[in-house]
């Protein structure tokens, strides 16, 4: 008993003497929710930080501060000098990169955030069309906290599978992977709104091309599996099966939801290289204009075939675009590495091979059902 109390007293004294770690009380810190990197006009890096300050009495206020410095940590110190509260990055949710910067090199910006233990690996990255400061510093009518808004915008679209996922972990994963390239959403200011405008495609750590937001469906289809996506397409006149309707329409518009897809890539010829891309897509019809009688299984089969053909041509178009800018965001390279023994694949080596890659696309589209009203 005597020894026990001795230890307790000793621990107590030691804790009193040295146990006071620097505290971070919510009222006394500014939480950085978003950081935007841009190319600076005078210094190398220009950083725009959205800082949320929580006040117990008042509504929390949001400050947007732009600084320029040689390093991102230097910018952090500069930002700190302009605020009444110490800034913390533990709650950071989004990192934005300006288009100009993305076209130059993003390697450093990803690495510096990976090194910092307080930065979460699940934050989102995106490219901003145009300049960074105008997007963040603008006083929007309906957006109170632009940092939170962009975070919600990305999160919502990624979780709904409208957009490819671009968490820091996934970006870093692709960046350090020999057979994979980075893709991330593009954000754009549109008058009083901020929205997703497309996806940026990277070659190694440089942005080399972009696709429209609609095309992100195909990119996701090739590189990932869908659990419940949505998709809208138009069948042109030439693609419409002849006996589907009595009066052949000029085009048929279709919309699907609850899309489940499964991709399967096989390397058939390692020298070319040549891949077989098999996609199994199951969906439920949401809208069809003009109305097609779905009771007839023959007609449904014809429609399915027409949609498959349509999807195939779109996918080939996307892959061809990827090849033309030498950006493999689809992950064919990883398949190549995992199928070829002793390939010792590097990014350069793969990009050489990638230019001459051949892909045989096969889409198997199945209409599961068409709502509750026929």
């Amino acid at each position: 008993m005597k020894t026990l109390s001795f230890y307790i007293i000793l621990l107590f004294i030691v804790s009193l003497l040295a146990g006071c770690v620097q505290t971070n009380i919510l009222d006394k810190v500014g939480l950085v929710t978003l950081v935007g990197y841009d190319v600076g006009t005078e210094e190398k890096i220009s950083t725009t930080a959205v800082v949320r300050e929580v006040n117990p009495e008042f509504q929390s206020n949001v400050q947007v501060i732009t600084t320029e410095n040689k390093t991102s940590k230097g910018n952090r110190m500069k930002t700190n000098r302009k605020l009444s509260k110490k800034i913390m990055v533990g709650q950071m949710r989004v990192i934005l990169l300006s288009e100009e910067l993305a076209k130059d090199n993003i390697h450093h910006y990803i690495e510096t955030n990976l090194e910092n233990a307080t930065v979460s690996n699940s934050l989102y990255l995106a490219v901003v069309e145009g300049q960074m400061a105008p997007l963040l510093e603008y006083k929007y009518n309906n957006i109170e906290d632009v940092g939170q808004h962009i975070y919600r915008l990305l999160q919502q679209n990624i979780e709904q599978e409208h957009m490819i996922s671009s968490t820091l972990h996934e970006i870093a994963h692709d960046m350090y992977m020999a057979g994979d390239d980075i893709a991330m959403p593009i954000i754009k200011k549109d008058e009083e709104l901020v929205g997703i405008a497309g996806i940026a495609l990277f070659k190694e750590d440089k942005m080399v091309g972009r696709l429209s937001a609609e095309d992100s469906f195909f990119v996701k289809l090739i590189r990932d599996n869908f659990k419940s996506g949505i998709y809208e397409t138009v069948l042109q006149k030439d693609n419409v099966p002849s006996d589907l309707l009595k009066n052949k329409p000029n085009e048929i518009s279709l919309a699907f939801d609850a899309i489940r897809s499964k991709r399967d890539i096989k390397l058939v010829n390692p020298t070319t290289p040549e891949f077989d891309l098999n996609l199994k897509v199951k969906a439920q019809i949401l809208e069809i204009v003009p109305d097609v009688n779905m009771d007839d299984p023959k007609k449904v089969a014809k429609l399915e075939k027409a949609i498959s053909k349509n999807l195939t041509s779109d996918i080939i178009r996307i892959i061809d675009y990827g090849k033309s800018i030498e950006s493999d965001v689809f992950g064919f390279g990883e398949k190549y590495r995992s199928s070829v023994r002793g390939s010792n694949l590097t990014k350069e080596k793969w990009h050489e091979l990638y230019k001459n890659m051949k892909v045989n696309v096969k889409v198997d589209f199945v209409i599961m059902r068409n709502g509750v009203f026929e």
Binding site: V14, N121, S122, E170, Y176, K335
Partner: protein, 373 residues
């Protein structure tokens, strides 16, 4: 020479607890970041290296237990004194004590480094080291049965961390594991060798053996514990290979903790911070067991009371944690522990087993001739 350990039954502990002792002695600071070290050599076949290392522990543990069984109720220190005689035996005992001490030190220093890198960059080393040492001293003065109890709770209370691997598994791809066996045998073995630091700890059986109640079941629980450890390491490794890309894994210092950094719950934003704190419970048995193993050796060399020993020992370790400050120095210590540990834990027991058998045969013959004459 009879120097076996004589014990009262209430100094001993039940055999099934040996499972927890060995398992908790193995799992410690190594598992936080062993992936990249193994991956450096064996690439995406690193999981095969983990299995190889696991198999090696089984073989070595088999030899250890066989050696101990020859002597009935004695530990490594007594066996060495018996085989090599007083002087060489005691010299080897001193080496083993030294090994336990640096292993203890390396566990302590690594954990402090993790806390400083992840949680509190501002907290001073001496404070953390003093706190952890005080807890260890407190546990040590409770005796072996308390230490065994800590091992038990350390394993049981940390069980919930293991299923957390499911979260990163969602982002893992199976393709990363292919093509299987691309690495050659040399690099696979090199990878297995790199596992040494992580998989060490089961050598505690050398010292704890006399304290086991039912010695016949020793090997059963030892091998079960080794199997459990290998299973955990294997799962962590496979998830890591799938989750990280090659370049990223090579540059992630504590891959297991980063693996957890993706997990967040509505009530807990950053899971790995909890994991880092919780790790104290996981390393506590490591510290206690190494300290106790060192103590068992020291009392064979000099006449010293437990309390006196533990204070002197802690003071030396405390000073050492202050000297070894930077990451490079810590890594150097880790590499030395792994190197020394490899020879002491993996090579030497097999040698000792052979010597024991030879000696047994020799003495048996001698006795036979004595009886005949």
């Amino acid at each position: 020479m009879d120097n076996s350990v004589q014990l009262k039954p209430n100094d001993m502990f039940n055999t099934y607890l040996l499972f927890f002792v060995i398992h908790s002695a193995q799992i410690g600071v190594g598992v936080q970041g062993f992936q990249r070290i193994v991956y450096q050599d064996a690439k995406h076949d690193a999981w095969i290296s983990v299995i190889l290392a696991g198999v090696a522990t089984h073989i070595v543990a088999f030899c250890m237990i066989k050696t101990l069984e020859v002597y009935g109720s004695n530990d490594l220190y007594g066996i060495q004194q018996d085989i090599y005689g007083k002087w060489i035996g005691n010299f080897l005992n001193a080496i083993y004590i030294f090994y336990c001490s640096i292993a203890f030190f390396s566990v302590l220093r690594n954990y402090i480094e993790v806390i400083q890198a992840w949680l509190f960059p501002g907290i001073s080393t001496w404070f953390l080291s003093a706190t952890l040492l005080l807890i260890t001293i407190y546990a040590f003065t409770g005796g072996l049965r308390v230490i065994v109890g800590i091992s038990f709770f350390s394993v049981v209370l940390a069980l919930w961390i293991f299923p957390m691997l499911i979260f990163p598994m969602k982002f893992a791809t199976l393709d990363s594991l292919y093509p299987i066996l691309e690495a050659n045998v040399r690099s696979l073995l090199k990878g297995a060798y790199s596992m040494t630091f992580t998989i060490l700890g089961f050598e505690i059986i050398n010292v704890i053996y006399p304290f086991i109640k039912d010695k016949k079941k020793t090997s059963k629980y030892t091998h079960l514990a080794l199997l459990a450890t290998t299973f955990i390491y294997l799962s962590v490794m496979m998830v890591s290979i799938g989750y990280y890309s090659e370049g990223k894994l090579l540059r992630t210092v504590w891959a297991t903790l980063t693996l957890f950094s993706f997990i967040s719950f509505p009530f807990m934003e950053r899971f790995e911070f909890v994991a880092v704190c919780f790790w104290m419970l996981i390393i506590l048995p490591n510290l206690c067991l190494y300290l106790w193993a060192a103590y068992r050796g020291v009392i064979r060399l000099v006449n010293i009371s437990g309390t006196k020993f533990v204070w002197i020992f802690s003071f030396i370790i405390f000073l050492a944690t202050l000297i070894v400050g930077s990451r490079t120095q810590i890594n150097m210590v880790n590499n030395q522990v792994a190197k020394v540990g490899f020879y002491i834990v993996f090579v030497y027991p097999i040698l000792l087993y052979m010597l024991t058998i030879l000696k047994k045969k020799f003495t048996a013959k001698k006795e036979q001739t004595n009886e005949n004459t």
